[in-house]
């Protein structure tokens, strides 16, 4: 350890959070977030869902993959299992992982339901919820869901973390 250089993951104030998602922060590019909100608005009043992949271990969401809601429901979403297999394999081949799993609630708040918590099967992912119940404003919140425990985290919106 070099003296004076904070180790990643410490609670050292200041610079540590600028890149990547150290503990309870989701850092996301505004262009990706805008595209997620646009997807949710487009599918409203049905729930929309998808993934943002990123390089394994980086905790940085870089590649948006909107998924079909196979349930086509206003109150439920489900990835099509075959589409999911294809996307998960593609991430594996690219040495990526699902950094964000997102979906919308179209008549309720952006907070995980009991169903969301029961199904949450990616302990390393940020679960991003978007509520489209208000036509003029969109509620966006992010959570970790591990072993049925929900922890809300800060959403840190940045511009162009990734070079075009």
């Amino acid at each position: 350890m070099t003296p004076g250089v904070p180790a990643v993951g410490t609670a050292t104030p200041g610079r540590a959070k600028s890149h990547g998602n150290v503990r309870h922060v989701l850092t996301i590019d505004s262009a990706i977030l805008d595209a997620i909100v646009a997807h949710a608005r487009r599918d409203h009043p049905d729930e929309a869902c998808g993934v943002v992949a990123g390089p394994a271990g980086s905790d940085l969401p870089t590649r948006l993959i909107p998924m079909d809601n196979a349930a086509r429901s206003m109150t439920f979403y489900e990835f099509d299992s075959i589409e999911q297999l294809r996307v998960w394999r593609e991430m594996d081949d690219n040495d990526e992982e699902p950094v964000i799993i997102y979906h919308s609630h179209t008549a309720t708040e952006a907070y995980p339901s009991r169903t969301d918590i029961s199904f949450a099967g990616e302990p390393g992912a940020h679960y991003l919820l978007v509520s489209t119940r208000e036509p003029d404003s969109t509620e966006i919140r992010s959570f970790r869901i591990v072993d049925n425990v929900v922890t809300e985290e800060e959403v840190n919106i940045v511009d162009a973390t990734v070079d075009a």
Partner: protein, 104 residues
């Protein structure tokens, strides 16, 4: 030869962290019993107490969802590849209603 099984992050606590394990059997059910003998507790995460496939996971035989291949009765053989993924689902609906909607 054996059957290769790819294990998702959430179930790797049962496999000592291994991403890929091997097993054997003539059917998916037999394969899961074999895996459970080596990785105690794994079966309970894949099969419900009633004996059906758990709704929280998707199991694929090569490129197909086993639900379309007879589920636990699906025939498997050496050289096949099994992939287990967490099912991604949820939504504002109550859990019991969601389960009924899924029909499983």
């Amino acid at each position: 030869m054996a059957i290769e099984v790819r294990v998702p992050t959430i179930l790797r606590s049962y496999t000592g962290g291994a991403k890929v394990v091997e097993g054997s059997g003539d059917t998916l059910s037999g394969l899961i019993d074999d895996l459970d003998a080596k990785h105690n507790g794994l079966k309970g995460r894949l099969i419900t107490p009633e004996g059906g496939l758990h709704r929280f996971v998707n199991i694929y035989l090569n490129d197909e969802d086993v639900r379309f291949l007879g589920a636990l009765d699906a025939k498997v053989a050496d050289g096949d590849s099994i992939t287990i993924l967490p099912a991604v689902a949820g939504g504002a609906l109550g859990f019991a209603a969601a389960a009924a909607l899924l029909g499983r």
